[in-house]
């Protein structure tokens, strides 16, 4: 009885996931027809980037339990690699995206080799230090690498970063409607990322990731290779994050060290925490809520960061599983109450029948 109901629950969850994704696809297609404002559409594209990165951080931390603080470093590495390939070799952006993402994977594997023998907090501290080092090295880079006209250009672009290395080609193709084209591209990127993440999470290797998170000792004893599995999830996460970084650079036609700043990383963490760590839809829900909150707080201007920090702290205090987790609690509570009500009815009926 118990078994059948749980398996039923699983298929029910899959059905809910399918239903939600169909709804989302419909909404994503309808969106550009409903929104006229260029600003709003631009913010939605930015939100899609955040959602992509957050979903990958969630895969890493929420599902595999690797507390990495180098997520924005992977993103920046992918973006920088793409921009630099275009800038130095004159490649088309589309051709440079895959090499950019792959170089982010290589970077993540190097970082992973150095960090993933450690556990928990040690991983967090080392990855944070690595991300900060990357930021410092880029910002303080003043050595001339090549001269562009009379302007000195650093190898890493220095504090300014790179600009004007090409775009996604939507401007030439769609003229005034280029933003809609970019929106479609980034939405597709997000959708593909989510689908692959879903497949990974539901696959045997995804179960291994979860087992390592829930009880590392037991998982290792059952034959899961912790180091290999975590390196693998590190690489997968870095691939999509790096790819998103490349698209980010191409969409804004610029990339600078600003994306490596602490506040960007915090925003990603806040999204995942508010949405729900370790839940599949958490990052998307978190993105919608936080980007909306961010827009509202824009009115309050300077209190934005303060509010963001408090939101992170409060949501971890009040809802450790995030909004999606709370929603799940609510659903199970409702189901429980219905069942309790149903059983109460049968309980009431019984003595009545025996009484007759």
């Amino acid at each position: 009885m118990n078994k059948t109901s749980s398996s039923k629950g699983m298929s029910g969850n899959a059905r809910i996931d399918l239903f939600v994704s169909l709804l989302l696809i419909a909404a994503a297609i309808a969106l550009p027809f409903m929104i006229d404002s260029r600003y709003v559409l631009g913010q939605i594209v930015l939100a899609l980037f955040y959602a992509t990165i957050a979903s990958q951080w969630n895969l890493l931390f929420g599902f595999a339990g690797v507390f990495s603080l180098a997520q924005m470093a992977m993103f920046a590495f992918g973006g920088y690699a793409t921009a630099m390939i275009c800038f130095y070799f004159g490649w088309n952006v589309w051709a440079a995206l895959l090499p950019g993402a792959l170089s982010a994977v290589v970077f993540s594997l190097v970082v992973g080799l150095a960090c993933l023998r450690l556990t928990g907090v040690y991983v967090a501290l080392l990855t944070l230090a690595i991300a900060q080092t990357m930021y410092l090295l880029i910002v303080t880079d003043t050595e001339c690498f090549i001269m562009v006209g009379s302007i000195c250009r650093q190898f890493t672009g220095g504090a300014v970063g790179f600009a004007r290395f090409g775009d996604l080609g939507t401007r030439a193709l769609l003229k005034g409607q280029w933003l809609v084209g970019n929106y479609a591209i980034i939405a597709t990127l997000f959708a593909v990322t989510m689908v692959v993440t879903y497949i990974i999470v539901k696959s045997p290797i995804g179960l291994a990731f979860r087992a390592l998170k829930d009880n590392p000792g037991y998982a290792v004893a059952r034959g899961v290779n912790q180091f290999q599995a975590q390196l693998l999830v590190f690489g997968i996460s870095a691939f999509f994050t790096g790819l998103a970084g490349g698209f980010y650079a191409a969409h804004f036609q610029a990339i600078g060290p600003g994306i490596l700043s602490m506040s960007q990383l915090m925003f990603i963490i806040a999204i995942t925490v508010v949405g729900g760590v370790g839940t599949f839809w958490g990052p998307l829900v978190g993105t919608i809520v936080l980007v909306a909150a961010d827009e509202l707080m824009r009115e309050a201007g300077e209190f934005r960061t303060l509010g963001l920090g408090l939101i992170i702290a409060l949501s971890i205090l009040l809802m450790p599983k995030g909004l999606v987790g709370r929603l799940g609690d609510l659903l199970s509570w409702l189901r429980h109450r219905n069942r309790a009500a149903a059983s109460a009815i049968t309980f009431q009926e019984k003595p009545a029948t025996t009484g007759k």
């Binding site: 040690y122 410092l136 880079d141 300077e302 209190f303």
Partner: protein, 295 residues
Amino acid sequence: MLDILTAILIAGLTTGALYALATVGLSLVWGSMGMLNMAHAAMLTLGGYSAFTLCTVLGLPVIVGFAGAILVGAVAGGLLYVLIVRNLLKTDKATFESNVMIATVGIGIALENAILLTYGGQPLKQPISATGSFILGPVSLPYQNMLIVLVVIALMAVIALLLGRTRMGRAIRATAQNREAAQLMGVAVNSVYFQVLVLSGAIAGICGVMVSSMTQLSPPLGNDPMLKAFIMCVVAGLGNLPGAVAAAFGLALLEAFVQYVAGARWGFPTLLFVVIAVLIWRPAGLFGRVQIRRM
């Protein structure tokens, strides 16, 4: 040659003393409660700014400013326990480690931003500082650096006495060694946690004053020493106090040397490289014991 060497030595020892202070505050909290306080940097900054408020804005004597920084730091630590940590401890044990980290990250950002909004972003001068230097033959020792090293040594002695000789220290050490056993022996673990956070907050307050007296007051003041303190904690093995102090001085000397030889921007990357090399060799840090956790 000699003056270069002494300059490196003085710079290394001074920053080493500062890092040691920052590291001890972090390591104490980690060692006894398994909590990584990401808001420590903001507490450092808070200490520096409260000394500024008391001395420069209100015109009170330096010693009051110093005491005020300690007090504000301690109160901040206490509030952190009452508002955040106490509530997180009630929830699942397994997720406490990462939850408390995320929560303190949020608190840290909020606090840093609150300071930015109150005082503005422009750098301010820390009133608690000494000028001039002590000339000893060819060597000149700035009073400021001597002051910092002396304060840190005195503080280390106080902390060592507190942990080694008092009832409170014994309770803290017992909790650090084995929480359950300490609790069963009648140690009020929750009040130990409170004391530890207050103590680490007070240390952060002093550290903030010292760091800002070397440079200037600015809202992100605490971040740089904190990042390095993290690294030093990791090298020494989190929670190991004497090891943390040794690592702080060792790495600060190395940093000062590298900064002189290769330029300032290579100081931190070199540290990081050393740390990674150490961790590959000894995953629990130089002085850390390998812990075997029961399931």
